[in-house]
Amino acid sequence: MSYKVGIFMQFAGVAAFCFICVVILPLFYGLYLTFTSWDGVSKTKPFVGLANYAATFADTDFWVSIGRTFFYSFFAVILVNIVAFLLAYMVTSGVKGQNFFRAGFFVPNLIGGIVLGFVWKFVFNRAFVAIGNSLNIEAMKNSPLSTTGGAMFCLILVAVWQYAGYMMLIYVAGFMSVDQSLREAAKVDGCTNQQATRFVIIPMMRTSFVTCLFLTITRCFMVYDVNLSLTGGEPYNSSVLAAMHVYNQAFTYKNYGTGQAEALVLFIICAVIGMWQVRVGRKGEVAA
């Protein structure tokens, strides 16, 4: 027993210590704070029992923002994965300069979300409007960020632009991991190229899909940085996604306990969806 502990400490001790310090302890401390009415500032943290959870369920703004997050994630996840898969398909098909394209599509992912938000804000507010004015297109004369639907559209568009390159890399790895002999065998058996992709390659890449879906779903549900710098919740707080609502509740409105309780609810929603998706995805995995 102690030998096992010794071995564990030797190899994973430092990492485990760090993980416990920065993830596990804050999680439990946060859990404790949900039972207090702390405002984030004062010295005292009065114990209030389940009042924060009651407040969470009564907070319509929170549930509206959750609904909005579902809407955003639904479209963003689907579009990111379709675009990423198509990109991956193209840059593994042996097109000329495909390494250059791979790097090019990946670059957006290297820009931080805050910067990305500001860049796109400029594009939507200035470039988009300038094009609309010069071509005299009525629908493009106003910034899409100034309407409720437009702001959501912009958020989804930027998410696709940001994540598609990263997910593409995972799909590329998926394509590469399937041995060429399988495709050749399928062809010998009379498959066309498309049929080989559809019935042989894609089922073999199932892990890639599971990974990509998991990553995009969790990222979309937790998105904050682009939300903050691209729309800031505007117009009239109609583009506040769940994470931003939680932040505002805890830090701006100084209801730390309620914000923490809402964060926990968001965490549970994400965890449930993420785990369910991975379970379902894993079930049908095949190996060559």
């Binding site: 100034s146 009239y236 701006t252």
Partner: protein
């Protein structure tokens, strides 16, 4: 046993998380070299406190937290000057965090600043716990803007800021041909005539409106509360849900004016995507003549190629309660001195001396007015204010024509009411809808 373990775990995690906060903020504050010096100073301070020795002799070093980032350079020059003059070293930090939470994290780490610059509302919320009583200081009688809580003076007013309608007098003169005299346009009717004249003279839309929620909610709509005799009872009847805003004279008067501003907004069709920078630039260059704002907007305006003749006037209204002859404002940014055991009496005295020096020494006075272009909150400081918006504010302040700020809004007020105002600005709701949303908001406030 189990409880003990949990307690230890909790304590350890708090200590860890707070230690992390503390170190990151101080390293963002100043350059590495200075923070090292500060660390030793802080260590000295805490060890002195730990010894429990009564203060003897003057403190050689104190710390100051500056939450007006734009004047950090001026502060560092000032503390050099102060050290040369008095031998006391003032280490100056800044942070872009929310002021209250930054201060709280420093207290949690038991490493508070000796002097901290906070917003007015923080004096009320943090002051009673953390601030030293300054009632017996010389400067108290020299200002109208110090903050008292429970009979104790806790907040030292750093400067005066006020809100009103900013104008570009040159742009107006160019069209009307006569010098712009804001006192002629106190009523909405006369203001409308002027706007019509400007439009006829070629300035198609003479007004800019900031769409930011803090400007619409916390600055413009806020005047609905502030421009009345008994603000507190009005707020409590809003909370009780007994107030009908559509029948409120002040609400209607200010919204009448807002409608006129909205009608003449240069970005009328896309009011909600107008960028503050663009609007300020247009005002600076005279493309538009009016915009609601405050003297802090000078920091933006002076970035552009501005014309002279910029100033600030009261929001025109058809009213006879006198509010159309006054700006709304008062003290902005307050110094508090730490009262906890982490600061000893010698340091506290040094901090008090520093504040007195800031008020009465010519170098201190010149720092505020000339170096920082701020409006002084003290009567004895008679230096001419540098920026034109500030000069307008000082003119109204000196004449006693400032309506006091209301500092007790709930923290989500600016965001919620600001969002309702944005909807009104974008024609998503009408005035009755706005009234209902604001009434509903206040009813939800506990």
């Amino acid at each position: 046993m189990n409880k003990k373990a949990v307690a230890i775990v909790l304590a350890a995690s708090t200590a860890l998380s707070l230690a992390a906060c503390g170190s990151s903020t101080s390293s963002t504050g100043t350059a590495a070299a200075t923070s090292a010096a500060a660390a030793t100073a802080a260590a000295a301070a805490t060890s002195a406190a730990a010894d429990g020795t009564a203060s003897s002799g003057a403190a050689a070093s104190i710390t100051l937290f500056n939450s007006k980032m734009e004047i950090q350079d001026q502060f560092e020059t000032l503390t050099d000057t102060y050290e040369k003059a008095t031998g006391v070293h003032v280490e100056c930090y800044y942070s872009s965090d929310t002021v209250a939470s930054h201060i709280a994290s420093k207290y949690a780490a038991n490493d508070p600043y000796t002097i901290m610059m906070v917003d007015a509302k923080d004096v009320y919320s943090l002051g009673p716990q953390y601030a030293a009583d300054l009632s017996s200081e010389k400067w108290v009688s020299d200002t109208n803007y110090a903050i008292q809580v429970d009979g104790k003076t806790l907040g030292f007013p750093f400067c005066v800021e006020a809100r009103g309608l900013m104008y570009n007098g040159d742009a107006i003169k160019k069209i009307t041909g006569e010098d712009f005299d804001p006192t002629k346009y106190e009523t909405l009717d006369s203001f409308k005539e002027l706007l019509a004249k400007l439009v006829a003279g070629g300035m198609a839309s003479p007004v800019g409106i900031m769409k930011e929620d803090w400007s619409l909610g916390a600055h413009y709509f806020q005047e609905v509360y502030e421009e009345r005799d008994d603000v507190d009872s009005f707020i409590s009847s809003l909370k009780a849900g007994t107030e009908d805003l559509t029948k409120d004279a002040k609400f209607n008067s200010l919204m009448d004016t807002f409608d006129v501003l909205k009608e003449n907004n240069y970005a009328k069709d896309s009011a909600i995507s107008a960028e503050r920078e663009t609007s300020e630039m247009k005002l600076a260059q005279g493309d538009i003549a009016f915009m609601f704002g405050g003297n802090w907007d000078w920091a933006e305006i002076n970035q552009y190629d501005y014309t002279d003749g910029i100033g600030m006037m009261p929001v025109p209204q058809n009213t006879d309660d006198g509010s159309n002859t006054k700006l709304v404002g008062g003290g902005s940014k307050y110094f508090m001195i730490d009262s906890s055991d982490a600061t000893n009496d010698a340091e506290r005295q040094a901090a008090k001396d520093f504040l007195n020096w800031l008020v009465s020494d010519p170098q201190g006075q010149s720092f505020l007015v000339n170096d920082c272009s701020l409006v002084p909150a003290f009567k004895s400081n008679t230096l001419a204010v540098q920026d034109p918006l500030g000069a307008s504010v000082k003119q109204y302040a000196d004449a006693g024509n400032l309506i006091a700020n209301y500092n007790y809004d709930p923290d989500d007020h600016y965001s919620k009411v600001g969002a309702s105002m944005q909807k009104y600005l974008a024609d998503q709701i009408d005035r009755a809808g706005l009234a209902t949303e604001v009434e509903d908001y206040w009813k939800s406030v506990k």
